[in-house]
Symmetry: D3
């Protein structure tokens, strides 16, 4: 049975020692949804065609947060990310924005927390910029889709897309 | 019709000028869920009874992030929070952890972003500490429940609980 | 003769004690220029019409930096800014971008460092986004234009515009 | 024709993927000027002979900022700098301080933003410490002088010195 | 019997709610010692007479850290300090540097953590700058000397000086 | 005679250039004591048996601070730590908590500042959580115990344990 790695022998929370782990190329892809009222979606979309401000601001926030995960998540290591890409897609039918964050690094540990944090802060920034017209916006389905590199191999999420 | 306040007259993203807004007592309550496999829930619960480490670490991360929202969300103001409380409840039947974050401040603008960010980083920290045994953990239903203080009055979320 | 306030009686660098200063509304306006080759100016302008990405990213960076001046400038106080506005104007004839940063606060000390830092980081971000095509971009004429509030009264820069 | 690298195929602002770039030794040198009134220059110079406080504080601020460029400039990568040197020279004839910042790193991308940011924050700190006696101080001519390492080869600025 | 205030009714770590506390003027004074070999003390003293660099760098580090206590100490509130003073005295007989940090604020909670952190980071910076010649430097006797303002009244340390 | 490495030829404070230093595995161990009244020690111990909150919060603070040393200590390099472990032991007889922080890294410079900062912030967090019942808590004996890796070889502290 696999173990909770962030705990030492006495069961106390602890950083994972990665000193002896191999340096490999790492990729993680996370997704998340921001459920918004149709009329707010429409405004973001029109803005996107004209100036892209909501989307640009939210992406920048997500990229900047992915770079600072070690300051936010207590037991994460400081990593030098080699790439952070954030993509936003409007799903008018489902009335949500789908955020995809892809993070790459060449290092000793995975970058899934960076991808998930990138999605979360992008989503929170969208909330912030639209909250005056829609306070019931909901962030949902923030999840890891794929992870490559390192000892644990290639993970692809089975449920959801 | 209410307006997207984070945009200036030319439609560009912009901070809201709160110079002349009144100082009032502000409260915001946000909630969110972390869907986890039953066997991982069980481990967290046992740990909680014994030492509470997963839950303590996640709460600390959420509190610290709520204090730094202005560094994470580009157009948020720097606020002096007077209280941040994070509460975690295990729902074994639904197989999720419910996170509640309550933030208070005495200032010129609301604290909903602080409450929502507190929930999100608490949830991401739980993911981080449990990811070795459960990569499919999903963060969902992150939403504002209640907001008091300021010109816009008392908001209580109608849908969900 | 006026004194260098950031020095104590022995001449050592020191924070200014603002404990007993009055809380007043404060405004500061700073400006600066980014000299860029005409062909790069043209690209930014076209992008601005279409999507505004260079300009939006640079403005966001400037706003976020203005909020963190106390972490960057050693003897500055932590302030709660009530507004940060950044405006960019393309001067094709002079081949430069003019950045204007206006900062407001209600507090015990001025916000000129916040306005000047907002201009500087906006300018540096423009450099970063255009450096692949124009390494000789130069940041110039970063200066305080106006300052209101507090004991020292209303300052308006006489030279330059 | 060379391309703006910080934009993806759709023209949106984006981080540059450096995953596959080679690790080489990188050096960047930037300069900038702080124009100050002769009498303020004189004070700084006397202080420099006696205690060096203005200059030491400004240099420390510049070094610390160079290390945090990835938090300030949205699309910059987090880098491990191996050296940051800041040099200040008083030019009494021209009535300015000349700041030179030299940054080194062993990594996958250049360090010119770190050198330019080091100069800018050093200059802003000088402004802060002298603003009580000279509000018209102006930061100018902040520019990249030289850059070595990486695929783009050795750059030396042709104009200015 | 007085209570550990950082714990909620269930005994869990928790921020103290200061929403309803009064705004008063607050002062805290902390001290600490850095024990150093006599020959290293001598070097710092000579440098102090000439340029003051070790002492200036260490003071700046302490001031900057005092301003960021809320990011370092998990349950501390973000405060707007109105003054931070750090004083260093060389005690050749005792072979130590005595650091005194005085912090002021006008707010709802005390500033003793800011004063103690100011002392600690000043001391650590002295260690950093002298470690090449003296690895056995020891930080000791970091303690609160005095505290004024707020409901708990005036505290003056009885033991030590 | 060995030299103060953080100073350039003119005697000014300066970062150490590590560009050409070898990458080796580095370990540093630091210790420190928090002197607390016996009745407060007893409370922490009981809490530790039940929930471990004081100790968990303090450890998390120490780990997070060790990761951010380059932001706190002006001339320290940004390092990617591969492990940070913090251990707390209650010494009822001596009426103190003994904190041990072990830091590992694979890089070009040592990690003793990270270990010493980890101890210091853990100690300050304990002070913060217990200060309501014991304001006279004192931090003492913060010292480097051991250091391995790099050119300077293996250091083991001779005095104290």
């Amino acid at each position: 049975m696999s173990e909770l790695t962030h705990f030492d022998k006495s069961g106390r929370a602890s950083m994972v020692d990665i000193t002896r782990k191999e340096i490999t190329e790492r990729v993680a892809v996370a997704k998340g949804r921001v459920y918004i009222k149709p009329e707010t979606i429409k405004r973001i979309e029109e803005d996107n065609i004209k100036k892209g401000d909501v989307i640009t601001v939210a992406k920048i926030a997500g990229i900047m947060a992915a770079k600072r995960v070690d300051e936010l998540i207590p037991l994460c290591h400081k990593l030098s990310l080699t790439d952070v890409k954030i993509d936003l897609k409007i799903d008018k039918k489902g009335s949500f924005l789908e955020i995809t964050c892809t993070v790459k690094s060449t290092g000793k540990t995975g970058v899934e927390m960076e991808a998930l944090t990138g999605v979360s802060i992008t989503a929170l920034t969208i909330y912030d910029m639209c909250k005056a017209v829609d306070r019931e916006i909901m962030l949902s389905d923030i999840r890891l889709m794929e992870k490559r590199g390192g000892k644990s191999g290639h993970f692809v999420r089975k449920t959801g897309d």
